[in-house]
Symmetry: none
Subunit: 198 residues, 4 copies
């Protein structure tokens, strides 16, 4: 919530990178949006790449820390999953520029940075895989392939940050409920227990 020059630049950078992509964004444009001269950005960051890295690192750190906190107090795997999805979606809608960038610009990271972020990303995904595994253990979920399911879940939910707008007709809570419902019961899960009818 602090509004230092540095934080303004970061905020505008996330927005710009989301809009035009990292490579498609220019520091001139960023400077203009942040209300500073081009050179001033280099007082706070040593390179364009560093700006991207700061956004990605802080976003991933927050994601991992907060989701762990959110699911700690839930008792059942289902409850943990619901809390996890809820948090994921809320964070991906409130800080949607940053999360979009963190999701879409992995490829723009230089090798060393890439490695760091991939580690954090795996850690985050692991949290969800663990929940699913627990659900299977406790027989409240039935999943053929945990990895696939976790990926599907996160991609589905992350995708929200691609189109969500606060001024859109669906509220965040509506979206959260729909997605949880969808992921837990599918399109037909509440209607009939039919097998896989090819």
């Amino acid at each position: 919530m602090t509004s230092t020059r540095k934080s303004i630049i970061l905020k505008e950078a996330a927005h710009l990178f989301r809009e035009k992509g990292y490579s498609g964004s220019t520091l001139r444009e960023l400077a203009k949006r942040a209300g500073v001269q081009g050179g001033s950005i280099y007082h706070h960051f040593s390179s364009k790449q560093e700006i991207l890295m700061v956004i990605m690192e802080s976003t991933m750190t927050t994601l991992v820390e907060k989701v762990q906190h959110e699911i700690t107090f839930a008792k059942t795997p289902l409850e943990k999953l619901r809390k996890g999805i809820q948090f994921h979606i809320k964070y991906h809608t409130t800080d949607r520029d940053e999360t979009y960038v963190a999701d879409a610009e992995l490829r723009s990271l230089e090798p060393a940075n890439y490695k760091k972020i991939v580690v954090m990303r795996r850690k985050y995904e692991q949290i969800f895989r663990d929940i699913l595994a627990m659900g299977i253990d406790q027989k409240c979920m039935e999943i053929e392939n945990i990895s696939l399911a976790a990926r599907a879940l996160l991609q589905m939910c992350t995708g929200i940050s691609y189109w969500y707008s606060p001024s859109g007709k669906d509220s965040i809570d509506t979206i959260v409920d729909s997605y949880v419902e969808l992921f837990l019961y599918g399109l037909c899960g509440k209607i009939h227990h039919g097998g896989n009818q090819k």
Copy 2:
């Protein structure tokens, strides 16, 4: 499957754009990968933008045409959905460079091109929305919000093209089956008809 210069350039362009993004790719690099000199690209395409547009247009055209063909002969909405998902995933894994680019580089299109592609994309999504609506009509699906569900479905499936590798441990058929199952019945749909227990 023709291997003209032009088709090689297109293939390499899709690969390169996927790897580094449209803005992050240079025509020099493309030329090198395609085995020609920089200037030669301009005998086949009038600009970098045109290369992107050709990829996107042909990809979207194929997507729309083929999915329609695939679902035509399916009788029930469930069957249509299964066929649709199957086709979507297969196409997104076999031509994953092109489909990835078509999905991720919308923002790199110039306004006129952007409009054209968005229309095609909506048409494609509409096909899936129609299936879901039909499913509700015929009471074989239960969906709160068709738009959200269609988006979730496509993002989930498209996401496969982000990580799928032919050398990975999951075959395309395995992936298709898992995703169809997941989307139709969710994690718990086959276990119990419990309500939404917050």
Copy 3:
């Protein structure tokens, strides 16, 4: 003597670097002098540093090769020294931009390049040290410290490239003769055999 664009750029670069130093020279200025656009330089060289390196490497290579050829056919150490000095001075006056740069801009080389050139420079100096050592052996020279003497000789002669101008009043041959004389007999060597009278 070839006048390709590349050779023109190199020639002008040597001249500019000599005039303003490597760091003090801009590629814009170089481009202007070479009659090309700024960007064109990068068609021939990958960086400003590479231009400097090409100048230094080719200069040092020529120096070592040619001086070896020059002294090969001289029989006595004195004759070899005279030939060596003569060649050194001639090369440092005819290609004085390049030799000046090779001498003065060692510090502007990046570490890897620096190492390469230092090796070549040592090789060149060694040639002169060898001549002096041979002179001592054959008792036609009397030198307390070969390293110091070789350094003094080369610095004295290299210095010519700092002030020599083809339009000046001293011809190259005059300069060569004076320097050889000076270095062989000193200011007083022909007058009296006085000891070191402090």
Copy 4:
């Protein structure tokens, strides 16, 4: 020997300019080495150029004043020359950063400053030329071209500041003796009076 902020900055500036050249040095680097922040330098100097000028002016002033004092009490031209060389070398080794800069960065001076320093430099060189002329008059030296010889002498001796290190194996006194000897008698002057045998 005073260690005011200003004198520290000057000392570090001479060192930095020697290492990277005037153009290649940045005030930020200088500030860091001097242990202050970038802006602080401007409390002591009005510009980067002024720092260079202060170094050069004080160095040249000291050179001229001290060499005159050193040679005043010597009686013969030979004695004067020995004293002059001795002083020159000692000063160029003890204050070798400053003297190196004074020697190498003439071209970095703005026109007005350039003129001033060139005058001082000529004055310094003239002192040595005068000694040589006196030596010829008194027939204790034999020199074809006084200007060339003076230039050769100074370049030879100044060059010491390019490689001298207090931790090297040659002491200053050793170097002084070798150079004096070398310049007075050459490599062969003490051996035989042979003519110029081409």
